[in-house]
């Protein structure tokens, strides 16, 4: 393409905007427009009162035609607001939209140097010179089209996965759930009641499982695992191992909903599984109403919020309150004491639940990380932070509120999908705040407790969220992605040494080695940051629209060759 360019005569048109008096009131735009006509390859210039107005846009179109312009530079406000408008304008005039360049002489010039009009004039002139020099080097780019297979794979069949799959199938997309166990439901299958609504867990999850079974477009593949994933957004090929049978699925998007695991409680506060158990082990006892204890003590943050596991598992306080309330319901005479550090009951209904537990006579004792409760055979010694003294509490059942932890096999799945994990082994989303259910790699999404311990309410909304994110892709037969991406041009192929530095530096996993062992940029994934081009050891990669050549031409235009 660089050869092609040399044949065509470059004719740059420069349009200098007065922006009323915003620019025109500080510098002489007319003179400027005349003066910049002398810059290399500039074929036409004019000044406009408002280049962005209908008149201004018409003037650009007219000039493109009359003066056979093939590059357009507008010197005015800022590309951050107005670049799309001018790109559209020149595209209406028959030019490729990428043959446009913006020069900011208002926000970063006349507005900030109002008291130095001469210097502002010189600066504007330099900026236009640089902008025109870059324009000369600009190349037409096409938006890249990627075909999308309107089907989705959900890995994990807990509430998160089922919610995601249900929503996608209802939206009309063929959806598969791959579940490693022989049935759907995940953690909820083995719980008793559910906070904060006191609904039976099996009843609740049973309904969802039923919906899944009755859904159209939705196929559940149990007792199976994903063993291989190839492809990229819109076009994945996935291999599933179902009890030794290998099956291939083709999907456009993948949702990770593999949930979380339970901490092994061995060694915590004398855990023995009989008299000293976990909340998880308490639930079936409550369900079967076979609780013989009279004095129950629960210890919160057992194995969490310490140096080893510095996080709050966020569901354990509510689980303890739930089970304490269930005990009180079974028999109000049973004493229940909860030893806690900070009680985590945020929001409206959870705080209400906490109040209810207190009203029902559940006793709360605050302890500190520095003075951990001391569990003896039949009693717990604990330093009560509220009273400022040691307390001895007898127990015949000790219940540990242990945290949810990341699945130990997350690593394998992460490797297959090329997505990251955070320090505790949970999946790491693209952006903690604004992309909570995306991965940095487009086409792969995440929801539920696989990302972080969350309750059912949040799990479900995240399941739906992941479905929504996937749907933004699956809804289209093809998607268009930015043309200003990175490439390894044909004429640079011999430069590439295959060192793979680019693969490592790309934040979006957009670069891979293909079947022929050549570096290939997956255009659909590239976001155009240019890190790869700036890093490529042999300068083989080219980041379009911000090429070395283009940027250097700006530098030369300013510095003088």
């Amino acid at each position: 393409m660089s050869e092609e360019r040399n044949e065509e005569e470059i004719r740059v048109g420069v349009f200098v905007c007065h922006c009323g008096s915003n620019i025109g009131g500080v510098i002489d735009c007319k003179k400027l427009a005349e003066e910049v006509r002398n810059f290399p390859d500039v074929a036409y210039t004019e000044d406009n009162l408002y280049t962005c107005s209908e008149n201004g846009l018409a003037a650009i179109k007219k000039a493109v035609e009359e003066h056979k312009l093939n590059r357009v530079v507008v010197a005015s406000c800022t590309p951050r607001t107005h670049e799309p408008l001018f790109r559209e304008c020149i595209s209406e005039a028959g030019l490729n939209p990428y043959l446009f360049n913006f020069v900011n002489i208002r926000d970063q010039c006349t507005w900030v140097h109002m008291k130095h009009p001469e210097e502002a004039y010189d600066k504007a002139k330099d900026l236009i010179k640089m902008g025109a020099a870059k324009a000369v080097k600009l190349e037409p780019l096409d938006m890249i089209m990627v075909n999308i297979n309107p089907a989705a794979l959900v890995i994990g069949g807990g509430v998160a996965g089922m919610s995601a799959a249900l929503s996608l199938s209802r939206q009309g997309f063929k959806t598969y759930i791959v579940e490693k166990e022989d049935k759907l439901g995940g953690r909820l299958n083995s719980l008793h009641k559910l906070f904060p609504y006191d609904i039976e867990a099996t009843e609740f999850v049973g309904k969802i499982i039923n919906n899944v079974k009755n859904a159209q477009n939705l196929e559940v593949i149990t007792s199976s695992r994903v063993i291989n994933i190839e492809g990229f957004i819109g076009n994945y090929e996935v291999e599933i191992d179902q009890n030794g049978n290998i099956r291939k699925l083709e999907v456009g998007a993948i949702i990770v909903a593999v949930g979380s695991s339970l901490l092994n409680p061995q060694g915590l506060f004398g855990y023995d599984g009989i008299k000293r158990i976990t909340q998880y082990e308490l639930e079936p006892k409550l369900k079967n109403k076979d609780l013989k204890a009279k004095e129950v003590v629960m210890i919160q943050c057992a194995g969490s919020r310490n140096d080893e596991r510095p996080y709050c598992s966020s569901v354990c306080c509510m689980t303890a309150l739930k089970n304490a309330l269930t005990i009180k319901e079974l028999n109000p005479d049973i004493h229940v004491t909860i030893l806690f550090r900070d009680l985590y009951t945020p929001g409206t209904s959870y705080e209400e639940y906490y109040r209810k537990a207190r009203e029902q006579g559940v006793l709360f004792v605050k302890y500190d990380e520095d003075r951990m409760p001391n569990v003896e055979e039949n009693q717990v010694k604990v330093f009560n932070e509220y009273i400022g003294d040691e307390m001895i509490i007898a127990y015949d059942l000790l219940v540990l509120s242990t945290p949810l932890v990341a699945n130990s096999d997350n690593k394998d799945l992460a490797q297959l999908l090329k997505v990251p994990l955070e320090a505790n082994g949970f999946f790491l989303e693209a952006h903690v705040k604004l992309r909570p259910n995306d991965f940095a790699t487009d086409g792969v999404y995440i929801g539920g407790s696989a990302k972080w311990p969350v309750d059912i309410t949040e799990t479900i909304s995240q399941g739906y969220a992941a479905a929504s994110r996937a749907s933004t892709i699956l809804s289209h037969e093809t998607i268009e992605v930015e043309g200003a991406t990175s490439i390894l041009p044909e004429y640079n192929k011999s430069l590439c040494t295959g060192c793979e530095v680019c693969i490592k530096v790309c934040p979006y996993n957009a670069i891979k080695k293909n079947e022929n062992d050549e570096i290939e940029i997956i255009q659909a994934l590239c976001k155009g940051c240019g890190l790869c081009a700036a890093t490529c050891t042999n300068k083989a990669l080219v980041i379009r629209h911000f090429t070395d050549d283009q940027i250097l031409s700006e530098i030369y235009a300013y510095g003088g060759e």
């Binding site: 922006c19 009323g20 008096s21 915003n22 408002y50 962005c52 406000c77 951050r80 607001t81 799309p84 309107p150 929503s167 199938s169 209802r170 939206q171 009309g172 559910l194 609504y197 609904i199 609740f204 919020r305 510095p310 996080y311 709050c312 598992s313 900070d342 985590y344 945020p346 929001g347 409206t348 705080e351 209400e352 605050k366 932070e385 009273i387 955070e422 949970f426 903690v432 705040k433 604004l434 909570p436 259910n437 990302k451 311990p453 059912i456 309410t457 949040e458 479900i460 909304s461 995240q462 399941g463 739906y464 969220a465 479905a467 929504s468 749907s471 933004t472 699956l474 809804s475 289209h476």
Partner: protein, 435 residues
């Protein structure tokens, strides 16, 4: 997929509404978005940084704002309100009141010449009345749409029949005093998403904060005011100063659960204050490494991703002391330094602490006007006047086809608001696609 003919209506242009609208629009569904204020962005635009990574709020928000404004599938009605909704899931119709801003939207280029000339100074709502704006104004500097609005209540032309100086100044002839409110009728709406966010207790009832000296002592501010003070584009340019004497505070007390978890005011927990307080203290410390911060709290609630490590860092690196306590009273000395009298639960003693500034983590309450909106939409509210949702399905309201997300149904942080917004979009899409 074939083109869908039904559209979605999103009410509220905070981060939750924006995310919901963007997801739907990216699915190829047309969205009408209605925002009451002159610009979208909601509370997030008012924040300086955001926990737990402390990214600059407007930096990460701004690209979303312009994406939303420019999206071919989104029509934005700013400075507007929903007046009437009829029909049922899959086929709603609505009436939007688009208030006159007395500016020709296509003409205004946000150059600000008019603002410079406008003689009328008005309390700036966006900056929590910590500075003045003019009667012609842009809601906030980075606001979208980036156009002016004339504050009819304050403009000299509307109040005294004088001035019209902006009209003479504007080179674009963008000022239009003849403009009138418009009623816009929308048909064929498949689903509705309500994301009108929250208000703060001081917005609806300043009296309950009197006990904490708010409104009484100049050196007692609310947390959102403090965000504005910390912000580089806020009223003090990011240099935190006391209002009594302009001095930089060296000791700040942050008081938690102001109006929340209380028998007298609101019983619920506002969920986010523990975290944003640590954030605010961290940022204040970054401005001034001599700063000492004291956080007075009941329980530290930090269950979100990375939140515990955030608090640990706060204590270890930012000179923040956490005091489990009950606040008894706040007074001031003769130099207007606030004095906090509290019961320290670690040693059970009544103690006093003199500080330079007090920041109150005030309670998050349902947004003003929620009753009216709920009535228009025919949806139920819960005991606290937040929108009532289906058990375990936080995006579903009591009415089929009407969904919700963000703080309007429960106080929550940005990540959760964004996740719910996408969740609500998925549910809305199910109906629109006839599922």
């Amino acid at each position: 997929m074939e083109k869908v003919s039904k559209s979605a209506l999103v009410i509220g242009g905070g981060i939750a509404g924006i995310q919901a609208a963007l997801d739907l629009a990216d699915m190829g569904i047309h969205v009408d978005m209605v925002e009451k204020k002159p610009c979208i962005g909601g509370r997030m635009a008012q924040l300086d940084k955001t926990f737990p990574t402390n990214d600059c709020s407007i930096c990460i928000l701004a690209p979303k704002l312009s994406e939303c404004y420019r999206h071919p599938n989104i029509t934005l009605y700013s400075y507007s309100e929903v007046q009437k909704v009829e029909g049922s899931a899959g086929n709603f119709s609505a009436e939007i009141l688009k208030r006159a801003r007395y500016i020709k939207e296509e003409e205004c280029i946000n150059c600000g010449l008019c603002v410079e000339k406008c003689p009328m100074r008005v309390e700036d709502e966006f900056d929590r009345e910590l500075r003045k704006r003019r009667a012609i104004y842009i809601y906030y500097l980075q606001g979208v749409p980036a156009i002016m609005t004339i504050d009819k209540e304050k403009c000299l032309w509307f109040t005294k029949n004088a001035c019209r100086i902006c009209e003479k100044t504007c080179e674009r002839e963008a000022i239009d005093f003849e403009q009138e409110d418009q009623i816009i009728k929308l048909e064929n709406i498949g689903s509705i998403i309500v994301a009108t966010g929250y208000s703060l207790i001081e917005d609806i009832d300043k009296d309950v904060l009197k006990n904490y000296g708010y409104g009484k002592f100049r050196n007692v501010v609310s947390a959102l005011e403090f965000e504005r003070l910390e912000c580089a584009s806020g009223p003090q340019g990011g240099h935190i100063k006391r209002f009594s004497d302009g001095k930089t505070p060296k000791k700040i007390a942050f008081l938690q659960c102001i109006g929340s978890r209380s028998d007298r005011v609101e019983k619920y927990c506002s969920s986010i204050c523990c975290m944003y307080t640590t954030k605010e203290a961290m940022i204040a410390y970054e401005h001034d490494n001599e700063l000492e911060s004291y956080v007075f709290y009941i329980d530290m609630r930090a269950g979100g991703k990375g939140f515990q490590s955030f608090l640990r860092r706060g204590a270890a690196e930012y000179n923040i002391k956490y005091i489990k306590s009950k606040i008894a009273q706040i007074t001031v000395d003769e130099k207007e330094n606030p004095i906090i009298i509290y019961e320290d639960l670690d040693n059970d003693k009544i103690t006093q602490l003199k500080v330079d500034l007090v920041v109150l983590a005030t309670c998050i309450v349902p947004p003003q006007g929620i009753d009216n909106l709920a009535e228009i939409l025919g949806i139920e509210l819960n005991d606290y006047n937040f929108i009532k949702t289906t058990p375990f399905i936080p995006v579903e309201t009591s009415k089929n086809g009407v969904f919700t997300c963000g703080c309007v149904h429960e106080p929550m942080d940005i990540p959760r608001s964004v996740a719910e917004a996408s969740g609500a979009a998925a549910k809305a899409a199910e109906i629109i696609r006839g599922g």
